[in-house]
């Protein structure tokens, strides 16, 4: 039987505010446990939350970026459940009246096709603390520094049909929130986390199958693996005559397996009700319009600009425009090199190979955009061949500060025209036999025989001759 996968995503995005959503505690990552958890965050009786305006501004920015209706009136509700990293016994979140209504995100698939994924809504809420289950004499340790960090939870419609689409969608969201500057996008620190709802159904069937939810995936790779495994598990289950049970599963990034969480009889009985501590938040048209006017450039618009302004292919433009920091690096390099195409090639080739090998983001690149741009100008003015440029790049990567210094001190320089002519004359004079053979040969043989002279000159110049020039010179002098 042919099966179809149906996927919906819930994406938690940590907003890059300085302080928490309901208190003035810092949200900085990496502080000593509980040093950024004040009386409000630990739920002391008698405290009152006051919402952070910046969290609303960021949520509105996201809403505008996905063409969504903005909730001019939004209401916080209490989602009740007991867990030690949630000291109030409820999460303050939004349900019936969220800040961001229905919208959509367009993704580009591997084959170049575009697909629209509808967004059901996005709401503001607070993050929980962290539970540490290492052994504290049979107890768990609780760090509440993260409790109260503002999140938007983005809920997609079940429009996704494969793990590739899911990853493309997740990457697009990452690209949007980092371009807006509302999230630092650092997945390793949990700035973006995914819950994946998965079901399968026979192809052609309208009705959805029973879905499972796998929680807390924090990388694109994990998400891809998790979907593949879960789809296989569900299909096998059904084909063996069983039934998929609705359940919540937890993915383990160490073993790359997911297992069902202990099912709770009263699962999803969250008894939501409007939070009596908070009044409805009302945003007026002027507030929303001001945000609309000042929205930074979004990835789709940037991709279009990269094709028109720099003449990049849609493929190159797509890669270089997706992430704000990569786009900025490309533009700075191009500014320094005055050659967009070469800059694009170097960033997508040599530079990204190095970054990947050392697992660095482009912000941590050991070669600055200025130096890369300068290196490219040295290829263009024929000081360097591409081959030599790669060696200079090596030196820069290893800590050398300046392209011209490296060329100077390491003697990386394409052999000058006069010098090259002298060397060619020398080689011709000292190899009379080969010269005679060459001159006697026909066009086709000559093409092979010229390799001998190229080799000799490269040896004499230690590979620093410009290959095009050398070829032309040899053909001219050998006649």
């Amino acid at each position: 039987m042919q099966w179809e996968t149906v996927i919906g995503l819930e994406v938690h995005v940590q907003l890059a505010t300085q302080s928490k959503i309901f208190s003035g505690s810092s949200t900085a990552f990496g502080a000593a446990p509980n040093t950024q958890a004040n009386a409000i965050d630990v739920a002391m009786p008698g405290t009152l939350p006051v919402p952070n305006e910046q969290a609303f501004r960021y949520a509105v920015m996201f809403g505008l970026a996905i063409n969504a209706d903005i909730g001019k009136r939004s209401v916080f509700e209490r989602k009740n459940y007991f867990y030690p990293d949630l000291p109030k016994g409820y999460q303050t979140t939004q349900l019936a009246e969220p800040i961001v209504g229905t919208g959509y995100v367009d993704i580009t698939l591997e084959n170049g096709e575009e697909k629209r994924i509808r967004i059901h809504h996005a709401h503001l809420e607070e993050d929980a603390g962290k539970s540490l289950h290492e052994d504290f004499h049979g107890m768990s340790g609780i760090d509440l520094n993260r409790a109260g960090t503002p999140l938007i939870e983005i809920v997609s419609e079940p429009d996704i049909r494969s793990s590739d689409e899911a990853v493309a969608f997740a990457r697009k969201l990452h690209s949007i929130v980092t371009s807006l500057g509302i999230c630092d996008g650092d997945m390793s620190q949990g700035s973006m986390r995914f819950d994946v709802n998965i079901s399968v159904r026979p192809k052609g069937q309208e009705e959805f199958g029973t879905r499972t939810e796998t929680k807390n995936l924090n990388s694109f790779k994990f998400m891809e693996k998790c979907i593949a495994q879960e789809v296989e598990r569900q299909i096998e289950l059904i084909e063996d005559g069983g039934k998929v049970e609705q359940q919540t599963r937890l993915y383990d990034g160490d073993t790359h397996t997911a297992k069902a969480m202990r099912s709770k009889e009263e699962a999803n009985d969250y008894r939501y009700f409007p939070c009596p501590d908070l009044l409805p938040v009302i945003l007026d048209d002027q507030y929303i319009d001001e945000i609309r006017q000042s929205l930074p450039e979004l990835p789709d618009a940037r991709a279009i600009r990269f094709t028109s302004e720099y003449g990049l292919s849609p493929y190159d433009a797509g890669i270089l425009s997706a992430e704000a920091d990569v786009a900025a690096f490309f533009e700075a390099t191009t500014k320094a090199s005055s050659d967009a195409k070469l800059s694009a090639n170097w960033i997508m080739g040599e530079l990204s190979a190095r970054l990947n090998a050392e697992e660095l983001s482009i912000g941590k690149s050991k070669v600055s955009s200025e130096q890369l741009g300068k290196l490219i100008t040295r290829i263009k003015d024929e000081t360097l061949t591409s081959k030599l440029a790669k060696q200079v790049f090596d030196h820069l990567w290893q800590g050398a500060a300046d392209v011209d210094d490296v060329i100077e001190t390491q003697g990386f320089k394409t052999t000058g025209d006069d010098e090259l002519a002298g060397i060619v004359d020398n080689i011709i004079a000292s190899n009379p036999q080969q010269v005679d053979n060459y001159r006697a040969a026909d066009e086709i043989k000559r093409k092979k025989m010229i390799g001998f002279f190229v080799g000799q000159v490269m040896k004499a110049t230690q590979g620093q001759a410009n290959p095009q020039k050398l070829n032309a010179l040899l053909q001219e002098k050998l006649g």
């Binding site: 302080s19 003035g24 040093t35 958890a37 289950h133 504290f136 609780i142 009044l279």
Partner: protein, 93 residues
């Protein structure tokens, strides 16, 4: 309200409720629900639900860090702490 529903509610609210008090609790909650039923009989078809009894609008604060580290004071009243963490009975799910 039936005894079973009372038990479920108690569990959700993490309240300990003895077998003896279940009947009494069921009776008083049933009375409250009767009052709610009475309220429900009012025609509110044209009235938008309120999110809060006060007809007021939430004030927002500026995004500024105004709090300093108060861990020592807060943990002084915690039953168990270690390495700056609050300790709780082991929870794994």
């Amino acid at each position: 309200m039936e005894a079973k529903e009372i038990e479920k509610l108690a569990k959700l609210a993490r309240l300990e409720i003895t077998q003896e008090t279940i009947d009494e609790t069921a009776k008083s909650i049933t009375e409250v629900l009767a009052l709610v039923d009475q309220l429900q009989s009012a025609d509110t078809g044209d009235i938008a639900p309120m999110a809060h009894p006060l007809d007021a609008v939430q004030v927002l604060r500026k995004d500024e860090v105004t709090e300093s580290d108060t861990r020592e004071q807060l943990q002084a009243i915690a039953p168990a702490t270690e390495d700056g963490l609050y300790l709780v009975p082991k929870v794994i799910d």
